[in-house]
Amino acid sequence: MGGLLELTDITVRYGADIHPVRDLTMSVQEGGTVALVGSNGAGKTTLLRALSGTLRFHRGTVSAGGVTLAGDRIDRLDPAEIVRRGIAHVPEGRRIFKEMTVEENLLVGSLALGARKDRRTLLDEMLDLFPVLRKKRRTGAALLSGGEQQMLAIGRSLMSRPRLLMLDEPSLGLAPTAISMVGDVIARIAERGTTVLLAEQNIALARRLATQVLVLRLGRVEWRGAPGEMDDSGVVRDLYLGGTGREREAEAGS
């Protein structure tokens, strides 16, 4: 093992007895791109919330297991501390600050860096990475298109110079051209050496970007492997045509 991020037997609880994630163990190697795929309710979003420390906002807790980042336990830290340790989270639905300008959204992303003088250089880097944002830097963020808002949400997260960037359904609700642009950006970020954990229902996108794929179902890892192995495993068929693990077990037993 010895990955950048290690999850050991993680169980998440909402309320008294809802466990959207159960006994989940996984590892993310430095420099890789891991895609978490699975249908609605598989536990992808919950897992990312557990990692960024934001379960509390949804009345959830990590009730068992542990998470380490580069060997240090992080599962009891609060979100502001976790982002300082190097995990940035681009949440589902983008959630940009609509009352701020594009530039302010990016700057607020650098809060984790503390009192650093190179904030403006970093901002400039980000505007190079997202030329469409440079043109609209003084524009109110609420006025951006869906694709632009997704770029902004990603840029905001990169402003903390993360070691691990987690993205939750970045393709959700976007037009096909915007999805392909978002894909290009994520590929570029990974090339620059940032480790990526991508929760995605869009299998094509996940497959294109990932070095490793984990299929989640009902809060557990049902399958893991390289993107190229997905076809042979039948896992894609199961995800989309409604097959279940139990049916496969039955098939195997017959």
Binding site: H89, E99, V108
Partner: protein, 295 residues
């Protein structure tokens, strides 16, 4: 000339309300809590100034009053607000109503029927120019309020601290995700609310009233309609609301001879009527952005 005098009087009074109201809004934005104890926090700070000025001089007493008020804000946050941070806005609002009753009872016990002077050096002196009359106290209030409010708005707009506070006001979960320390943001909101209240309290009790009395908290509570008129979560709105409340009071009391049919002392009711009228017209206030926080 009567109108001009009333306008000047109303605007300068309005700025004091704006100062209290901004504190209220900062606390609401930072912690989603309507602080109904704001008036008694103001009286507490002013009480400290009034109790200590003969020993420490006005400057020292003012510093002590501001400090006590700031610390009281911090304590309220730590003891009552942070533990209930996952409860609703309504629960925390009700807690502040309880705190207000407790604090007011204690201050009433100490103040009794006394009128305590804060020892402000400007006293009740008045400047006149071309028929316009302006009490020195109000002139100082005007300058200090403009400085504090302007400074606060600049910090809010242009610094990382301000950005962090604005992010927290808009979406606490995402703010914490990008690194805002929510406890620190809420601490500073309560501290700032306390500081602004203490400063405003000193001006509120030097003119037109002769000093601090038990009823001062009732005057201070006028910052509430000011904040609601402005929109509860808007700093600019708090200033506009404060000015409107100040003007409505000043004009109604200045023209009371023509408004006699409304009854005596209608100026104390006018801001509340204005508040109800604004809410009927715009349920989230003049500048409130999010219908989520409608009253």
């Amino acid at each position: 000339m009567r109108l001009a005098n009333l306008l000047v009087d109303g605007l300068s009074l309005g700025l004091i309300y704006a100062l209290i109201s901004i504190g209220f809004v900062v606390i609401f934005r930072g912690t989603k809590t309507p602080n109904f104890a704001h008036g008694s926090m103001l009286v507490l700070g002013t009480f400290v100034v009034a109790s200590l000025h003969s020993r420490l001089g006005f400057g020292g007493a003012l510093a002590a009053g501001i400090l006590v008020s700031a610390v009281s804000g911090l304590l309220v946050n730590r003891i009552a607000m942070l533990p209930t941070r996952d409860a609703g806005t309504d629960v925390r609002g009700i807690i502040t109503i309880g705190l207000n009753v407790i604090l007011t009872a204690e201050l009433t016990r100490r103040l009794g029927a006394n009128i305590m002077s804060t020892g402000a050096p400007w006293g009740d002196a008045t400047l006149s120019a071309g028929g316009l009359r302006l009490p020195v106290s109000r002139l100082c209030a005007l300058l200090v309020s403009v400085l504090i409010i302007g400074g606060f708005m600049l910090v809010n707009r242009y610094t990382m601290m301000g950005l962090s506070a604005r992010a927290t006001a808009e979406d606490p979960e995402i703010a914490s995700m990008v690194g805002a320390r929510l406890r620190r943001v809420s601490d500073s909101a309560w501290i700032l609310g306390g500081v602004f209240a203490a400063v405003a309290g000193v001006f509120l009790t030097t003119y037109p009233s002769a000093g601090l009395v038990v009823g001062t908290s009732e005057i201070a509570i006028l910052a509430f309609p000011a904040a609601v008129i402005g929109g509860l979560d808007s700093v600019g709105g708090a200033v506009a609301g404060g000015l409107l409340v100040g003007l409505s009071q000043s004009l109604v009391s200045g023209y009371h001879d023509r408004l006699d049919f409304l009854g005596h002392g209608f100026d104390t009711v006018a801001p509340w009527i204005l508040m109800v009228a604004v809410l009927l017209w715009r349920p989230h206030g003049l500048f409130g952005k999010r219908p989520l926080y409608r009253i």
